[in-house]
Symmetry: C2
Subunit: 379 residues, 2 copies
């Protein structure tokens, strides 16, 4: 298998956890992998080179935002999303389904798709499975996602099943609309809420259609870590072992660690970037809020063991000062550190799987990190 053919290889396992490589048209991705979020064709506050310096091999970008601004057609005419934003490694795009539900106004859902008003200017748009896949084609996404309806939480089993079945019909239409090209992949999205039988039914329908990878959708929407892990356990057992598994919108470091233990290969979340802009940073000892006055005179870096650009050059005192002054460099430096922290966590998880020491690694992680729950993780 060369770098230009889409595919997935598993090199080692430790329990349910897998060490793998994902091959795409624009390069490889070591898994388990974390994808920084670049919503509007930029990972907020970062240059592509600084994103790459953290170890990121793939980013996620948002179909909903890009279709509204600057439009998929414009990006296509300018050479595609990689060229447009100067990121020459793989890009995964979501389908727009989640953002239509969470951001757009005056939504009208039908069998055909969703008609909605832009949250930016109120203009009217439509997303269907065919249109979502077309947009992702125009963007040049290495990995496209099926258009789905994000099932709300909490929801009763009947509603969860109707929603899941609609997403499955849309998954079939997404697959039919997807133009097969060497090195490009399409992922299905498992729905079914927290109901085991629905997750099983959803997996079965997706496997019948056949995808290059399978995302677990509808989690990290407020159900809590315990229920998320339980749903992961039941879902992953119904998925094929030889395709990548992607847990959408997750999450906090302890969520990622637990999900890797349960066999998840890919993650995305706005937490490291959004938190960074707000002054929260991640450390091996848990999150730290640099807005706090206790950092004003602290000459230490965020983490003396960290070898990111920020920790190499700047004190907590300086970072606190930048936050107080609302200086752009504060957002840049904290985002940089946080993305580096996340990529280092993934590297350490991969190393532990390779060395068959994941259990010890996770024990040690929890001893130092604690199991902090103070932040919501959903994008």
């Amino acid at each position: 298998m060369n770098n230009h053919s889409f595919g997935f290889s598993i090199h080692a396992t430790d329990g349910h956890a897998r060490l793998g490589t994902l091959y795409t048209s624009n390069g490889i991705i070591d898994t388990p992998a974390f994808m920084p979020v670049g919503t509007s064709a930029t990972v907020k506050a970062m240059t592509p080179e600084s994103v790459e310096s953290t170890g990121a091999q793939i980013i996620l970008s948002n179909t909903y935002h890009l279709m509204l601004r600057p439009t998929a057609e414009r990006i296509h005419a300018l050479g595609g999303l990689h060229q447009f934003m100067n990121w020459h490694r793989p890009i995964l795009t979501d389908s727009g389904g989640y953002q239509v539900m969470s951001l757009a106004k005056l939504r009208k859902i039908s069998e055909n798709g969703v008609i909605f008003q832009s949250h930016i200017d109120g203009s009217r748009h439509e997303l269907t499975p065919e249109r979502s896949i077309n947009i992702q084609y125009l963007l040049g996404s290495d990995i496209s996602m099926c258009f789905d309806e994000c099932t709300p939480f909490p929801v009763d089993e009947y509603v969860a099943r109707e929603s899941m079945l609609l997403s499955m019909r849309w998954a079939k239409r997404s697959k039919e609309a997807f133009i097969q090209r060497e090195g490009y992949g399409l992922f299905g999205i498992v729905q079914g809420g927290v109901y085991k039988s629905l997750r099983e039914e959803s997996c079965s329908k997706l496997l019948d259609i056949g995808f290059d990878g399978y995302a677990i959708g509808g989690l990290a929407v407020g159900e809590g870590q315990a229920l998320m892990f339980k749903t992961l356990d039941v879902t992953n057992q119904f998925l094929s072992n030889d395709k990548p598994r992607y847990l959408m919108g997750v999450g906090k470091p302890p969520d990622i660690v637990g999900a890797v233990q349960r066999g998840v290969d890919m993650f995305d979340c706005v937490l490291p970037t959004r938190s960074g802009r707000n002054g929260q940073v991640f450390t091996p000892n848990g999150p730290m809020n640099l807005n706090n006055a206790c950092h004003k005179d602290d000459s230490r870096p965020i983490d003396s063991e960290c070898n990111c650009y920020t920790c190499a050059h700047y004190s907590r005192s300086y970072l606190n000062h930048l936050l107080k002054c609302k200086e752009i460099l504060g957002a840049v430096l904290l985002t940089w550190h946080n993305l580096h922290f996340y990529q280092t966590l993934m590297k350490n998880l991969r190393k532990a799987i390779h060395e068959q020491t994941l259990t010890q690694f996770v024990e040690q992680f929890h001893l130092t990190y604690g199991v902090s729950e103070q932040n919501d993780t959903q994008a």
Copy 2:
């Protein structure tokens, strides 16, 4: 003369223009030089490395802002401003005089100094010549500026003279308060409004006191380019030829070009950084507003001849998109280009002086750039 002894050498002249080197404790500066403004211990939207990549050899930082936040004492305790902000080349600090007049509230000026309220939290502070020089010492500035009163414009000759004489008495106290150290310098500031006799009197008094360089203050406050140039002509004839001359708060590219022709060696201005954050960029053909819709589909860089990071990687279309989305990267990339443009202009001016072709260079500059006047240049 080595790099650690403060001083100034002139290597070539072309008309009144001078090609020189300024030697300071933290390195040399090729003159004529442009100093990017790093008000709150950061050149807004830039890392120090990206500032350096544009060719900048010295930055300016603001005493007024730093004394209020995070305080000079805190920066001193953390190793000084160079260490604090990770900029290891020379730093010039202003004296706070201008910002006290333009930003602070409830000012009370006396012979002793200025009592004022912080524009941030209303707290009460005092700046005197002694306190301003002390703050600049605590910051570790390579070049300190005398504390002065910025004479308003327009103003009659009597008021201008009283203001100038106060600044001259403060200049004497500033000199007495300045702790002489190898490699560190103190500049006097010529005042006197647009009145030739007052400028002459101010120069005479400053030369009697004796400084390492002389700034021309009180210009770029609304008097217009013609009157600014005229005042420069009369002021520079009264200054010693062997010390650097610094035109404070200037300016637009045509202002800088004309001032270099008149013998000015140093400049600072927020224009390239502030304009960049707002979407205005500088090109050899004049300023361009990237917010305009005409750039939406333009795949060209800002300037195809420019070799800055931004022009190497990004289209006008992408930059327009970032501005529309208010993305931080937009501010970063446009600031980066603008600082590069300013440093390239200074490099070309130095080359022209070296080659004795300044007249032709300036003619060519105006042919392509025009003499645009659409922006105010004062910080």
